[in-house]
């Protein structure tokens, strides 16, 4: 017992918090990558997350494609969708005020969600985890851990770290960071910056879709699963500051844990705790925990 709460319940909620935190981290990572180079806040990120989950569901239903294959195929498909959107429409807005990018992607989010609601209704659809991850749960001695949840945490950590390495440690990442600082100069050095922008958006969208596939067995697959999540992720991004990739990742997990803890000790406040933390951070440290003053 800790503060009158059974250890089992506490750890269970912390585990759920860590799961939520995994999705916050993956999504805020994608937002930060896109924002870093394109200066666009991708409001459609939640809708693309939902699109990932639905694509996995539909692939399984109509083509019999299983979870593991979907994990690779879905990000590619949805990422391609993002590339097409960027090439045909979003790229026209770069020269304008940044607010237009936000408004455009908001419209995109409404369109995607509206379409799925029209065809599939608002209720959630089940998507089962692959057999290898279903049973039995792992007994860690102090708590019982369902296998799929453990997998989500491990997978999201791997993806987050891989993205960090890609951006901070590779040649391609160096181009990306250089183009963030000064696109004109990088273009003068012969790097195809418009292509880099397209690929970056595609990559960010693919990350959202991957998170969607990971989330499909945990949450119910529904057209609205992304829209409420994305507002929380915005708050995460404000707390972390979008200047740093690592900042986005760490903040995502930390706020997920904070939310889990609140569910144990003061459940009424559990769905506003992240916003409260955001407000406090803004008052004490307006640039965000990891952000540079901009």
């Amino acid at each position: 017992m800790i503060f009158g709460v059974p250890l089992q319940a506490l750890l269970g909620q912390l585990m759920l918090g860590l799961i939520n935190g995994s999705f916050y981290a993956l999504l805020s990572l994608g937002l930060a990558v896109i924002f870093g180079l394109l200066r666009v806040i991708n409001f459609a990120h939640g809708a693309q997350f939902m699109l990932g989950a639905f694509t996995a569901l539909l692939l399984a239903k109509h083509l019999g494609i299983g979870y593991w294959f979907a994990l690779v195929l879905v990000p590619l498909l949805v990422g391609l969708f993002g590339v097409i959107i960027e090439r045909t429409m979003l790229s026209r807005l770069y020269k304008l005020d940044h607010l237009y990018g936000l408004l455009f992607t908001f419209g995109l989010a409404l369109t995607i969600e509206g379409t799925f609601r029209y065809f599939f209704g608002s209720s959630g659809l089940p998507y089962s985890a692959p057999a290898a991850l279903q049973s039995p749960p792992v007994n860690l001695g102090f708590m019982v851990l369902p296998r799929y949840r453990a997998w989500v945490i491990v997978a999201s950590l791997i993806v987050c770290l891989a993205t960090w390495v890609l951006i901070e440690k590779t040649k391609l990442g160096a181009y990306l960071r250089a183009a963030t600082e000064n696109p004109t100069l990088v273009q003068a050095f012969g790097v195809n910056v418009p292509l880099l922008l397209t690929l970056t958006y595609g990559f960010g969208v693919a990350l959202a879709a991957l998170a969607g596939v990971l989330a499909a067995p945990v949450y119910q697959v529904s057209p609205l699963m992304g829209s409420n999540l994305i507002i929380v992720v915005f708050a995460v991004v404000v707390v972390g500051g979008m200047g740093s990739i690592m900042g986005a990742i760490v903040t995502g997990y930390a706020l997920g844990l904070a939310e889990g803890l609140t569910k144990v000790f003061y459940p009424e406040a559990s769905n506003i705790v992240i916003f409260v933390i955001m407000a406090i951070v803004l008052i004490l440290r307006p640039a965000g925990l990891f952000g540079k003053e901009a």
Binding site: F35, R39, I41, M89, R92, L93, Y94, K95, L96, D97, H98, L99, Y100, L102, L103, F104, F106, G107, L108, A109, L110, T111, I112, E113, G114, T115, R117, Y118, T180, E181, N182, P183, T184, S227, I231, V232, F234, A235, V237, V238, E268, N271, I272, F275, V276, M278, A279, L282, I283, P286
Partner: protein, 328 residues
């Protein structure tokens, strides 16, 4: 800065300036005449809904069009105003005009808190923070007992204005709503064209220069934010009186999106734009309500099309290209 913001596009500016003066005088008079006789042609509730949203969009435009701040959390003020007004009228049993005053002041107080926090950051962060704080208010309303959760706060009989005029009569209610909306519009017009409004525009067009001229930019922005919130609350309170209902729909983020769209359709930073935009939007929504085709898809597509090719909106496109203006 790597990504240049849009400057004013060069275009024919002198064109039609002389006739514009006469037109500018004539349009409000024609609109006023139309508003006075509208309930004889259209269903009064429909026209009143349009009036409430026109005031809401105009209040929102005060912030986006004249200060250059995009708030994605205005549903909190609109819905907050609706809840405050409904609470005062229903639970405290006071008259409708007192309800509106409390709704307006309550929304202003809410605007002061949200504005003070959100204005710690600027640009795109400001937008995300307003959205997040409004969502927090939404969750608060979802759980707080006084909002009655999913059922909403339902009002009984409409009551008597100043304790005398019966608002249960459709025409009495209509002209009361029209009068309040006109007062609200007049306040916005006065505000925008006051020295205060001029400073707001200078902040919008060149914040650094406004700072170097010695203006306390943050205080002016907060002033505009509170003003916009208060008038949004007034619009929300009116809406609660008209529909006898304050619900979670009024505080949900979709409402914030709708008011952005109305302003965008009509023309950001124009006086008449929000009114025209809300008219188009309400008409569209009303027509689609009878079909089973979802409004959300239409809204989303209209949003994308407006941003891509129709950024100046209906009113903005009909005016000679204005000088200045970061948006539109």
């Amino acid at each position: 800065m790597a990504h240049p913001t849009s400057g004013p596009a060069a275009g024919p500016q002198i064109r039609e300036i002389r006739s514009a003066g006469t037109i500018r005088m004539a349009i409000p008079l024609v609109a006023l005449a139309a508003a006075l006789i509208a309930p004889f042609w259209f269903y009064p509730i429909f026209v009143m809904k349009f009036l409430c949203f026109a005031l809401f969009a105009a209040a929102f435009n005060l912030l986006l069009g004249y200060t250059g701040l995009l708030s994605f959390g205005h549903a909190a003020f609109f819905g907050g105003g609706a809840y405050f007004t409904a609470h005062v009228v229903k639970i405290w049993g006071l008259t409708p005009e007192l309800g509106l005053i409390v709704g307006t002041l309550g929304a202003a107080a809410l605007g002061l808190v949200i504005g003070a926090i959100a204005l710690r950051r600027s640009g795109i962060y400001f937008t995300m923070i307003t959205l997040a704080l409004a969502q927090m208010f939404y969750f608060f309303c979802l759980q707080a007992p006084f909002t009655h959760g999913e059922d909403g706060l339902q009002l009984g009989p409409r009551g008597h204005l100043f304790g005398v005029i019966d608002l249960g009569q459709a025409m009495n209610l209509y002209y009361f709503v029209l009068a309040v909306v006109l007062i609200g519009m007049f306040v916005i017009w006065r505000f925008v064209n006051s020295p205060f409004g001029m400073i707001l525009r200078s902040i919008r067009d060149n914040e650094q220069r406004a700072i170097s001229l010695g203006y306390s930019v943050q205080a002016y922005k907060l002033g505009a934010f509170v003003m916009s919130a208060a008038l949004s609350g007034l619009a929300g309170g009116l809406k609660a009186l008209v529909f006898q209902l304050a619900t979670l729909t009024d505080v949900a983020w979709q409402m914030s999106g709708e008011v952005v769209l109305m302003t965008l359709i009509g023309g950001i930073g124009t006086q008449a734009g929000p009114v025209v935009g809300s008219g188009v939007f309400i008409a569209l929504q009303n027509n689609l309500a009878t079909s089973d085709f979802p409004v959300t898809i239409i809204m989303g597509v209209v949003f994308m099309v407006c941003v891509l090719v129709f950024r100046r909106g209906i009113v903005g496109n009909s005016l000679p290209r204005a000088s200045g203006g970061r948006l539109g």
